[in-house]
Amino acid sequence: MSSTSTTDVVGSAPSGDPVGRSLTTPRPRYGERVVLGLLWLCAGVSVVTTIGIILVVFVEAFALFGIPGVSVVEFFTDTAWRPFTGPESEQFRLGVLPLLNSTLLITAIALGIAVPLGLATAIYLSEFARPRVRRTVKPFLELLAGVPTVVLGYFALTFMTPVLRSVFGADVVPIFNAASAGIVVGILIVPTIASISEDAMSAVPRALREGAYGLGAARQQVALKIVFPAALSGIVAAIILGFGRAVGETLIVSLAAGNLPPPDVPTADPFQQVQTMTAYIVQAVGGESSRGSVTYQSIFAVGALLFVLTFLVNLIALRIVRRFREEY
């Protein structure tokens, strides 16, 4: 609160004021308190959102296990995912492992593409590029980060898949496959990994570089042997955040990777149709599923798993980022 000045107030006290309003304490402004309360509520909306998400996802997910014929243990251990027949059917199996396997397969391919490209970009921009090159390259990376994922899904299906089919043979590569989707998801997360890693490397103190230069190191030695290791925790955080984005990616995988959970789990074959957790959610929502049905509730069970996975990943990444900030 601003303090009212108490000097030079001789004779300025309002004479007709029986209460004798104090000049040292400000007049209470009730309107302001209301406004402050409203601002506080605005900030609270984000907490409500979080609580809402957690409640919704877990309450609806637990409802799945209340349905007769569905078991929690099988959900986490069964190696087949055939939810659409209904629990009465012989065919019905509800094990999430195939979906998890698909998600991790796509994510692994994506990181295999994005980590080398993202780190090369970060090192080049942070240590080698002239300011003009930096200014030219960065907007393009931002543009890439801003391309809607449905557009990248279209690109994966209509461009990347035909390219893969002509390189490896159409009999080896099916139309829907993990490789095509994984590569494009990788391209999608290059900007994420590049920009966070670059921030980490730019934050390495100048003294470290100067010390190395003073000892006669060349620029590439400084970049790779001094700056890169010093920024490693930030770089790890960048990769973890990229991992989180790849796990939650929806449109690219549901357009290009297909809708068939892999029959054999675990699998690492990139040239097969897979169905990730996110792709299942999209597929199951598309069918008219009523509340309380296995299909409807399973959407949330899969969503809960996705939420827990990405939440943990982000928490770890934030921790690491915070720690590396404190170092310097």
Binding site: E60, L141, G146, A218, G303
Partner: protein
């Protein structure tokens, strides 16, 4: 007023510094490899844009913008998608602006430094990392069923608002933080209350950057497919969406693109889909240019 936006402190000193010579061959090699790595992503972006332009430009026409979706590729349009996307944009902007700016003002100007505030901040950062499809689940369960809004425009708008709100809050906080301390101190020294300072000095000084952040967040919202796909957007409606018809069904351009790509006919999958992509990308380009124009005009004025 001379308001500058101090970027985060960065070590700029060694950039442009000429390293000692001696191992030029290896140095050049490293540099070329890194440059190539940098160019891959940009090359893919270029291929993507060219590919879509070549595929889609033939399908673009005035009819494509004004016709409703049809079973026949030569007669189809994305009118309901365009009106849906614009309606969502208006509604999301109306909801996120007050909420986002209010939350940012509270956190940046008034919040006490205590546990509750730290929890709020961690929470907002974590929300920004939640996959967008999870917001769709929130929309499906809470807005569609629990609150009984059904698969309506307001459901879509609320879902997207929940999605971009953390981004808007973070951007607005950065804008407020960039306003120099002196402006606040000056106001306080003249006897204004903290709220008066925030409302009449700090916020107006930060508004252009806040607007930039808002527009960028909105462009992210209208490019999103997964959350509204889950929260009940329809593939086609054959009717216009209007921002005031909150309880009617809705669709949006990204949803229609998804639908076109999924259709079995080649014409839909390639020509129609990429024509719709061009429309969406042009819309995003316009919004991003607007954001850049606001940012530039603002920094020139100071």
């Amino acid at each position: 007023m001379a308001v500058s936006t101090p970027a985060r402190p960065r070590e700029q000193g060694t950039r442009g510094f000429r390293a000692p010579v001696g191992d030029t061959v290896r140095e050049k090699f490293t540099q070329v490899v890194l440059l190539l790595g940098t160019l891959v992503a940009i090359a893919v972006l270029a291929i993507l844009l060219i590919d879509i332009a070549l595929d889609g430009v033939g399908g673009l026409s005035l009819d494509f913008l004004t016709n409703y979706t049809s079973r026949f590729p030569e007669r189809t349009g994305i009118r309901e998608g365009i009106t849906g996307t614009l309606s969502l944009m208006v509604l999301v902007a109306l909801m996120t602006f007050p909420l986002g700016v209010g939350a940012a003002l509270y956190l940046e100007e008034f919040a006490p430094r205590n546990r509750w505030t730290r929890l709020l901040e961690t929470n907002i950062n974590n929300l920004a990392g939640v996959p967008s499809i999870v917001y769709g689940l929130l929309g499906l369960s809470v807005f569609v069923f629990f609150l009984g809004f059904g698969r309506s425009l307001i459901t879509g708008a609320l879902t997207l608002t929940a999605l971009v709100l953390p981004v808007v809050i973070v951007a607005s906080r950065e804008a407020l933080r960039a306003v120099p301390r002196e402006i606040r101190d000056g106001g306080l020294a003249l006897g204004a209350t903290p709220l008066q300072v925030a409302a009449r000095q700090t916020l107006p000084a930060a508004i252009p950057s806040i607007m930039t952040g808002m527009i960028l967040s909105l462009s992210r919202a209208i490019g999103e497919t997964a959350p509204i796909l889950v929260a009940g957007a329809a593939f086609s409606r054959r009717a216009d969406n209007e921002p005031w018809n909150l309880t009617e069904g809705y669709t949006a351009i990204p949803i229609q693109i998804f639908d076109f790509v999924k259709r079995p006919q080649q014409e839909f999958q390639v020509e129609v889909a990429s024509a719709a992509i061009i429309v969406l990308m042009v819309l995003l380009l316009i919004m991003n240019s607007a954001a850049i124009v606001i940012r530039n005009r603002y920094s020139r004025n100071r």
